[in-house]
């Protein structure tokens, strides 16, 4: 096995390195394995090993860590053997020559653990780590026994958060016995300067220019940030690891805290970095190395699919619902009397003693109403940009707190209807083929979509009644020629559905779309570029689906079939379920501002058949002046 870089060293230095290798190999050579057999400790072999290079985050011959503090050798970022020798050299230094937390083992505990496991003749980890009180405190004095990967669901309030986010969480038995609030959590993100303008933010986020790093905090900080301030659900996927494996993983995460990486939104993001850490212990890759992008949900789909030995890699999946979801779940669980009392209190400014519907409830029912309303008021405060808003709302909350005290100890239980975990949704990318028929032509079609989900995708793990797709391209073949059917770089749509209908629990439906497509369905030579934006309203119809209405403005160029500026008004209905069949129908009228009296009616029907995450069949029909039918088989990956 070749030794990287050795042949390029000048002759005097070559002998120095050779002698050093022999000395260190002798010093660290552990000749006895646990079963008494002899084993040679071979730094050159270890330096070339996949595991050592993963510890150094090497990719294509170079470490992806860009901060020099991560390396003990001057060329440690390009020479894994030099870094290995420097690490062994550093670990050989006596502990008593260093102040607490200063010995290299305190910075690189995972390297120490690993080298020792590979046969290095070093003192036990437990005996040296006593000189690292800061690491010991962070790692709960070696008591960490649980490692989880946490998915914060997508957040349409910030484009950088559309696809969700990843965190790591480590916990001990003592902490878990109470709650995970005091668990150790590790976050990853780009270092964005204050007051960064949006154009620079987008450009540097996509094409590079930011560094990124891992940081740590008590888990409650992240539960507040994501679950409360951003109203995002947190799904914890606990890994099926033993204590030693958890300790090793946590040790390596410690090594990375504060170290810097280059940041690219589409690939070298939180999903990529966390996957690279987890691949230290998983048997298979988590992120497809050939994929041009890394999407957080794919990490969880890979984790849920993988085994660890004879067991699933994921031991347990736990939901910490956002403040919004907790309110929705409570409200959905209220009985009819409780809901009537809830609405009555909203109507009479929370004058609890004056409310007949409320006073007619039992103490347990009153407690349930009070708890639901406490969540409601907090949800409103947060969704209205978190301001300590009006004094009236503060007083309402005070009255509810007093009432809850007066109700005393009540044995309240809830029966929430829980969503499916997010890994059960469709993977984000599509490869599809199908058939397209118009009045004049028939085509075969080939489609690819980068990310993420449309209105008929499986609902697990996504914002209900929403669509977010990027880079959706379809080609068509008429038997002689391949041409573009459409290219849609971006589509975002949300119906702003209120789960409760209560005041403040409502937002506008909105959508934006950029696309290059035929100006009319069934048109073979009228391709145009369009920008479309719309506002509207959506109303839920129980568990069946949602009605909605939109007013849209269209810009198109070149002018194909009508002018540059047009508009439309439409109404529609969409089902939302993981049933075998789902559908969406939308109908309305389209006008161009050049000829505003000429209204062209249109209708679109979209259907999904199949409810497996990996595939489905779509049957779409559309009519506006001309008609078009599409049948597609979609493979999700």
């Amino acid at each position: 096995m070749s030794i990287s870089g050795l042949s390029n060293i000048p002759r005097p230095a070559f002998f120095y390195v050779l002698i050093k290798t022999l000395v260190l190999a002798t010093l660290f050579n552990q000749n006895l394995l646990a079963d008494g057999r002899a084993s040679a400790f071979s730094p050159p072999e270890l330096a070339s090993s996949q595991h050592w290079q993963r510890l150094l985050h090497y990719e294509d011959g170079r470490s992806e860590v860009v901060s020099s503090a991560f390396f003990l050798a001057d060329n440690g970022d390009t020479d894994p053997y030099a870094e290995l020798l420097a690490t062994l050299d550093a670990f050989a230094q006596p502990l008593d020559e260093f102040q607490p937390d200063e010995h290299p083992v305190c910075r690189f505990p995972a390297r120490y653990r690993w080298l020792q496991s590979q046969g290095a003749n070093m003192r036990s980890f437990d005996s040296v780590i006593v000189g690292c009180p800061e690491f010991q405190h962070w790692s709960d004095n070696g008591n960490l026994n649980s490692a989880s990967v946490v998915f914060a669901t997508g957040y349409l309030g910030n484009p950088a958060s559309y696809y969700g986010h990843l965190l790591l969480k480590f916990s001990s038995a003592e902490v878990s016995s109470v709650s995970d609030l005091l668990a150790t959590s590790v976050n990853f993100g780009a270092r964005i300067p204050d007051q960064e303008n949006p154009v620079t933010y987008i450009f540097r986020g996509l094409f590079g220019g930011y560094t990124s790093t891992f940081s740590h905090a008590y888990y409650y900080e992240n539960r507040e940030l994501y679950g409360d301030e951003q109203l995002r659900d947190l799904w914890g996927y606990e890994l099926n690891l033993n204590e030693d494996e958890v300790a090793f993983l946590a040790s390596h995460v410690w090594e990375l805290i504060g170290q810097e990486f280059d940041y690219y939104f589409t690939l070298e993001n939180c999903a990529y970095r966390v996957a690279r850490i987890l691949e230290l212990i998983t048997e298979e890759p988590i992120i497809n190395e050939r994929s041009p992008w890394a999407v957080p949900i794919t990490v969880f789909q890979a984790l849920a699919d993988q085994s660890y030995g004879d067991d699933p890699l994921v031991r347990e999946i736990e939901l910490f619902p956002s403040r919004q979801r907790r309110f929705y779940e409570k409200y959905a669980d209220l009985n009819q009397s409780e809901r009537s009392a809830t609405r009555a209190l909203l109507d009479n400014d929370f004058m609890l003693t004056d409310s007949e519907p409320y006073q007619g409830l039992s103490d347990i029912e009153k407690t349930r109403v009070v708890m639901a309303l406490l969540d409601y008021l907090e949800y409103l405060r947060i969704s209205e940009d978190g301001a300590e808003t009006d004094s009236a709302a503060s007083e309402y909350r005070r009255r509810l707190l007093v009432e809850r005290l007066n109700l005393g100890d009540q044995d309240v239980s809830w029966s929430p209807v829980r969503e499916q975990p997010p890994h059960l949704g469709n993977p984000p990318s599509i490869l599809g083929f199908g058939y397209m028929g118009t009045a004049e032509e028939s085509y075969l079609t080939l489609r690819g979509r980068a990310t993420s989900h449309d209105m008929l995708s499986l609902p697990a793990g996504r914002v209900p009644y929403s669509a977010l797709t990027m880079l959706d391209l379809e080609l068509r073949f008429d038997g002689e020629m391949v041409s573009l059917n459409y290219f849609e770089p971006l589509r975002i749509e949300t119906l702003g559905i209120s789960e409760t209908g209560l005041p403040g629990d409502r937002s506008h439906a909105w959508r934006i779309r950029a696309v290059v497509e035929p100006a009319l369905p069934g048109c073979s030579n009228c391709t145009t570029g369009k920008l479309q934006g719309g506002l509207g309203r959506g109303v839920r119809l129980g568990n069946l689906g949602a009605f909605y209405g939109f007013s849209d403005l269209h810009l198109q160029y070149p002018e194909e079939h009508g002018g540059v500026i047009g508009g439309s008004a439409s109404v529609g209905f969409v089902t939302q379920s993981d049933a075998f069949w789902a559908a969406r129908i939308e109908t309305g009228g389209h006008v161009t501002f050049d000829d505003i009296e000429q209204v062209e009616p249109f209708i679109r029907v979209q259907q999904r058949f199949g409810n497996r995450p990996g595939w489905d069949i779509r049957v779409d029909a559309e009519h506006r002046v001309d008609s078009q039918v599409n049948v597609r088989f979609n493979y999700y990956w």
Binding site: W138, V178, L181, L182, S215, R398, L401, R404, L405
Partner: protein
């Protein structure tokens, strides 16, 4: 300016028996983590420390917090970890306190190093103290910082006096 408004509100509150809610402190009184140890700088960007907050939110770990925000002279005796927890999760603590139990209440007891066997009794005492606070109509007018400090001071005094034998970090 904000401090002057708060002081007025607190004076009113104090006049109607809300003794736990004060914002002034001296080196010899219980330190106020929000004022004396920089906790307020983290969560009130309008006082000129917005530039630090983004990093603070990232790095709000145990060592990062205590090393960045402890001031030896002014913060002696302050339980920064408890104050940060109370500040961060105050609405949850309100809800747990009025119910007499809950995840946030239990975690706070752990931060104070209280024996699990004493949690129920301590929470009962905390609930009594909080009842006095929230029963006062002026409670709704207090700022987040004032409510959080009032709660912190009440709990810290309880675990330091009545429950000193069962809690280690008062």
């Amino acid at each position: 300016m904000k401090m002057m408004k708060k002081t007025g509100a607190i004076a009113l509150a104090a006049a109607i028996a809300l003794p736990a809610v004060t914002v002034s402190s001296t080196a010899t009184a219980n330190p106020n983590p929000w004022q004396d140890c920089g906790l307020g700088a983290m969560v009130f960007p309008d006082n000129g420390t917005a530039a630090a907050i983004s990093n603070v939110i990232w790095d709000l770990g145990t060592t990062a917090l205590t090393s960045a925000y402890s001031s030896p002279d002014q913060c002696q005796g302050a339980n920064i970890e408890a104050a940060a927890f109370i500040d961060s999760g105050y609405p949850h603590l309100e809800e747990d306190t009025v119910a007499g139990r809950g995840e946030y209440a239990s975690a706070l007891m752990n931060i104070y190093g209280c024996d699990a066997s004493s949690h129920d009794a301590i929470m009962s005492s905390v609930q009594e103290g909080f009842t006095d606070q929230v029963a006062n109509e002026q409670y709704a007018a207090l700022s987040h910082e004032e409510k959080a400090f009032g709660y912190y001071e009440m709990v810290t005094d309880l675990v330091g006096d009545e429950y000193a034998g069962t809690c280690t970090a008062s």
